[in-house]
Structure formats: structure tokens, C-alpha cells
């Protein structure tokens, strides 16, 4: 049974959205340089049918230690700023993550949907459904004091911004218009001298009127 068939099974004969409910959880795969880290919002390790293991991020008091934004649609061409965070970590972990922050540079985070049928435990048999992929841009490190009515607690948090494929779409992928750049490009094509841009520097801040 694939994902859509599982959804269909939940849907049954119902047609109104208010009558349909299906336990779906989003699962997150951070594909870092040295290897992927996988998380799901729940208790214990989730084993999906493709053999991947996902770490549960919810603690005993129901706090999810991994914060992820809800899905956003990029079909209108916008690139939403998605912030994924680990808001409650200890100092040791915080420092360790700071040391390896380049691990996340331009790496993808993938979001899948997992349908959890009853009596499957933490071993769902339905394949995952790909939902979204974001590129991790810049990690943010923050530590600060918070007051919890009794004492000050130093709180360490790490978050990272992910952007979808629309990120920087408006920027054309061309070279800069300088004489040096033009000569380099010409050299790549085997042309010894290209003086086509020699005049460019002289045109800086100059208004040119065609005669």
C-alpha cells in the first residue's frame, strides 16, 4: 500500500473534509555534510519501511525539542524564511554545534509525511511521502538568561534558516561586467585578448549620451 492508498483508506466514502482525519506526522531529514540526522515529533525511535531511523524529539513533559515551521507553498514564486530550531540544548551541545556549523552550509533539509496506521507501533509500513526540501542557509546561535519565577536559567538555542528553490531566483547567474572578468571568460574560450570591456571602468558614474 502506498501513501495515497493509505490516505484513501482513511478517507473511505467520506467526501467532506470535516469527516476525514488521518494521523500524519512530518519527519525531518537534515542531510548534513558528515551524514544525515533524522527527527520526528514523538517518543522513541521511528523506523520507516525504507530502513531509516528517526529520533523522537518530544520529551516526557510533552515539549518538542525540535522546532520546525509549518509547510508553506512556494508556487507563487516567493521563498518563505523557514526557521528550524533546537531551542533547549545544554551548553556542551551548544558549543559542539558551534564548532561544526559548516556542516550545515548549503545542505538540504527534507520534510516527509508519514502516515501512521493503528497497530503498527513505531514501524509504519506505508512509504513516506516527500513534502518539501529546503536549503539550509545560516545557523543562528543564541544564549541568554531567562527568569522562570525562581531563578535565572541560561538558555542555549540554535536555529537555522532554510529557503526553498525560489531563493535568489531573481538573481541572474552571470559574471560581473569588468574588464578583468571579461578577459578571464575569454581565456576560458581560448581567446587570447578580449578588450571589449576595457572602457567599462571609465564609464563609472558617467552619463553617456548617444550622438
Amino acid at each position: 500500500m502506498n501513501f495515497l492508498e493509505a490516505l484513501d483508506q482513511y478517507r473511505g466514502d467520506d467526501e467532506d473534509s470535516a469527516d476525514i482525519s488521518c494521523p500524519l506526522v512530518p519527519v525531518y531529514e537534515y542531510d548534513l555534510t558528515s551524514g544525515p540526522i533524522r527527527m520526528w515529533p514523538g517518543f522513541g525511535r521511528l523506523h520507516t519501511i525504507d530502513g531509516r531511523k528517526w529520533l523522537g524529539t518530544v520529551d516526557s513533559s510533552g515539549v518538542d525539542h525540535h522546532q520546525a515551521p509549518g509547510p508553506r507553498d512556494g508556487r507563487d514564486g516567493t521563498s518563505a524564511k523557514m526557521t528550524f530550531g533546537l531551542p533547549y540544548i545544554d551548553r556542551e551541545t551548544y558549543n559542539q554545534i558551534r564548532l561544526v556549523k559548516e556542516e550545515s552550509r548549503d545542505r538540504p533539509v527534507r520534510v516527509y509525511l508519514c502516515v501512521l496506521l493503528p497497530n503498527e507501533g513505531l514501524r509504519p509500513q506505508t512509504p513516506l511521502r516527500f513534502q518539501a526540501e529546503y536549503t539550509l542557509i545560516s545557523p543562528l546561535f543564541d544564549s541568554g538568561l531567562t527568569w522562570d519565577e525562581v531563578r535565572f536559567i541560561r538558555r542555549y538555542s540554535v536555529s537555522i534558516i532554510g529557503r526553498d528553490g525560489n531563493q535568489s531566483r531573481a538573481l541572474a547567474d552571470l559574471g560581473t561586467y569588468t574588464s578583468t572578468g571579461q578577459r578571464d571568460r575569454a581565456a576560458e574560450f581560448g581567446i587570447a585578448v578580449d578588450r571589449g570591456c576595457d572602457f567599462v571602468a571609465a564609464l563609472e558614474n558617467v552619463t553617456v549620451k548617444p550622438q
Partner: protein, 235 residues
């Protein structure tokens, strides 16, 4: 960076008079139907919870011991507490035990206990007959020595080790004396045919309510600690 969790044994002298295990299966609320029935889904996974209450202690268990325990409880230690005073496990009688090997444990062959008046622990086991994977909820056990002792609501410990996680039987299907169990909580490790289940489980958990445990502390000859609620530690 690996983390080594220190596990403390719950002091054997601080015996609870009442223990209750439950699978903390909460549910997730979802939408209303057109007929305004609110739907809910059982939460996936979940952990075992053990509640224990204590009666009055005197003698060996004095206020010093309890006060030490209070600090350990507040420090969030992982405790190992045997489930001995619970009607939810298969009783020794059901397992075919005679009076002498009841919950007080097994004496030496000359019917004498150890010098501290304690017997050997009574630790009946049964064998798993088919491989079971971590995260699944199905388990097959051979109950040949005991008969059909497992039914809905019975708690067993899965794994031969003392830290085998307690789990509740939700459904049983018998084929002769081979029982196919549907468990309430997902298995915490991979098991192979030949591994054991224990009829007297041991709970490994952290105390969730240190305030309640410490709340009844007072100086005196006789002391009564408050109840504790242990939440299964997933290590």
C-alpha cells in the same frame, strides 16, 4: 560525545505497598465531524508509567535515608524499580508456584533465606519464538511451561536483562500454547527467537513528581514518603 546514564537501584528496603503500571497512551485531538463528533487518534508510541505508593517506614528506613533519596529523585536519576506489588503482572500462583516460592522469593535448598532474611528473587521467564524488530508491537512467546497465563492487561518485561522494558499485552492469539501478543507499547530493541520475556518486570525510569515524593517528609521515628511516578527512560 557519548552520554553514559547512571542507573540507580531503588533501595530494596523502601518497598512500595502499591504499584500500578500503565501505558501512558494519550491521544491527539483532531477535527470535528459534520455531526460534531470530535475525533481523536491514539498517540503513536508512548512510554510506560509506574506509580508506587509507600506505607509508613521505621527502623532501617529512617528519615536520613528518605532525605537522601529525595535528593536523588530531584536530581533526575534513572531508577530501576522491580514491579513486585502489582496485580497487573502474572502472579506466582498462576505460574504454578507453590506457597513457598511466592512473592517472597526462592529460599536455598534447605529452605533457609540469605543472612539478611531475603530469598533469591523469583524470576520466571518464557521464550520468544520468532524474531521481533524494534518499534514493532507484535511478539510471539512460547508459554508451554505455564499454560495460557497471558491475557489483555497483563504486564511483562521484554528481554532477559533486568532492564527489559515493561510492556502491556493488548491482544493475545493462542495457537496451542504459542501466544502471539499484540503489545501496547513499541518494542525498545530487536529481539530474536530464543530471547526471553520476564513475568516480573523491572521498571527503568525517572521520577516525574519529586515534589509529591518529598512533600510528606518530616522528622520522626516513623516516616511515610509520598508517592512516586516513574516515567520509562528510553536509553
Amino acid at each position: 560525545m557519548s552520554i553514559a546514564v547512571e542507573i540507580s537501584d531503588w533501595p530494596s528496603a523502601v518497598i512500595p505497598y502499591r504499584q500500578m503500571l500503565r501505558a501512558a497512551g494519550s491521544n491527539v485531538r483532531s477535527g470535528f465531524t459534520l455531526a460534531t463528533v470530535q475525533q481523536s487518534h491514539p498517540e503513536i508510541g508512548g512510554r510506560a508509567v509506574l506509580e508506587a505508593e509507600f506505607s509508613n517506614f521505621g527502623g532501617d528506613v529512617d528519615s536520613t535515608m528518605i532525605s537522601g533519596l529525595i535528593s536523588e529523585v530531584y536530581a533526575g536519576r534513572v531508577f530501576r524499580m522491580p514491579v513486585t506489588r502489582s496485580a497487573q503482572t502474572v502472579s506466582a500462583i498462576e505460574l504454578g508456584a507453590t506457597e513457598s516460592i511466592d512473592i517472597d522469593g526462592l529460599p536455598w535448598s534447605n529452605d533457609e533465606p540469605w543472612s539478611n532474611d531475603q530469598n533469591w528473587a523469583f524470576n520466571p521467564v518464557a521464550e520468544i519464538t520468532a524474531d521481533a524488530l524494534e518499534g514493532s508491537v507484535s511478539l510471539t512467546v512460547d508459554l508451554t511451561p505455564y499454560g495460557r497465563v497471558l491475557s489483555f492487561g497483563k504486564w511483562i518485561g521484554i528481554g532477559a536483562e533486568i532492564d527489559g522494558a515493561p510492556n502491556m499485552v493488548r491482544r493475545v492469539q493462542y495457537n496451542g500454547l504459542i501466544a502471539t501478543l499484540s503489545m501496547s507499547l513499541p518494542l525498545r530493541a530487536d529481539f530474536e527467537a530464543g530471547d526471553l520475556i520476564r513475568f516480573k518486570p523491572t521498571m527503568l525510569g525517572t521520577v516525574q513528581n519529586p515534589e509529591e515524593f518529598a512533600g510528606m517528609f518530616e522528622a520522626g521515628e516513623i516516616i511515610k514518603p509520598g508517592r512516586v511516578r516513574l516515567l520509562e527512560a528510553l536509553l
